[in-house]
Amino acid sequence: MNHSLVNWFKFASPASFYPLAGRLIPFFTAAAVLLLAAGLWLGLLVAPTDAQQGEGYRIIFVHVPASWMSMFIYCVMAFWAALGLSFNTRLSGMMTSALAPTGALFAFLSLWTGALWGKPMWGAWWVWDARLTSQLILFFLYLGFIALQAAIDDPRRADKAGAILALVGVVNVPIIYFSVQWWNTLHQGASVSMTKAPSMAHTMLLGMLLMALAFWAYTIAVALMRVRCIILERELTSEWVKKNAME
């Protein structure tokens, strides 16, 4: 008998994860609200006006953290997908599908705020820059994942098919990124580059970090809420749901 100190698989069971998630949600919601308030205050009121871009640059306090989150969430989804496929845990698949809508939301938000920023700064809503193009493709990958899961009725099959797709996607993301970058340099399309950003003031960087942390807390809170709904939907017939969760 091998008893390790910590039972790593205790919370892999939906029955024990459901109450844990319920206890964690208020904590992360509060963190999201506080960090968001602090980040917005710092970004919109405290940070100095940019010498070249005026007030319009303040959109980066939403745009950059949203882009980070959209990429990071895809990696987290791939992590849960790999875990679900290798350990055959039900909760992993539920986590993957709970994260996908939030990831798609952030990818869309990053594209939309990017367009709003691009119009006054570059004079165009859209340029075929490598980053913009690969972000758009990432958005398509999210949509494909959500569409595949929605099309399959059997939840176990939907989880596994989604997991395979997420892993194939995560392998492809860097390939797509570099191919698009090369394609862009060959075409010499966008004359403006986002990599040559001027060095940032400390307050700006701090505001951006606070916003990123706020989005992080928001993502965790929303994903936990969604995973609780998914657990209830799938385990509706089981005993523990009738006993504990439906009070």
């Binding site: 493709i137 099309a151 098919a161 194939v168 390939i175 191919s179």
Partner: protein, 225 residues
Amino acid sequence: MSRFLSPFIQSVRRDLLLAARHKTEIVTALFFFVIVVNLLPLGIGPDPDLLRKIAPGALWISALLATLLGLQRLFAPDHADGTLEQMALSPQSFTLLVAGKILAHWLVAGLPVVLIAPVLGLQFDLSGRSLLILTVSLLLGTPILSLIGAVGAALTLGVRGSGALLSLLILPLYIPALIFGAGAVEADLAGLGPDGHLSLLAALLVVSAFFAPWVATVALRVALE
């Protein structure tokens, strides 16, 4: 060695035989390719300079669409009559059987496209050298389309509205092949030479030939559960 590969060869032979019994399917996909390529000048205008510029992209995008057309039927008929289940249960390697099906799909859907592409390239006023590079890029690239497409076909097997779903899943993954394939001709015209693009395309082919049959097999086992 030949014993190891015998399920692969048998699977290729079987699917080719089946395709030969339904010749209209092959011909329809090929004519779809020809018609799409020919629609583009009608939509864009007959200016030879412009056509020469868009030719590689036009042929490549049409090849993507033509491949998608056949992919839906890669596993579906065998799934419907239970053959696929027997293949999964057989003592032979299921991955090799699936790899054989993918090769057969390329021979039936991809190779005709490669062979007819130079003729269509002439309509776009491409030079001999560009035609050669385009054909080589398609020869290296269309197997990638079949391989990655097989993963999508396996994931969407027996799913509601699988045709549209398959395009949504697979087309974003085709982007690198499209960029390097269509880019080879343009790079040559720009004086960079096609070698870099063609090498990367070959690298993509090797990587997808190694992984795609295996991933497709895993996806098929999920679908058959």
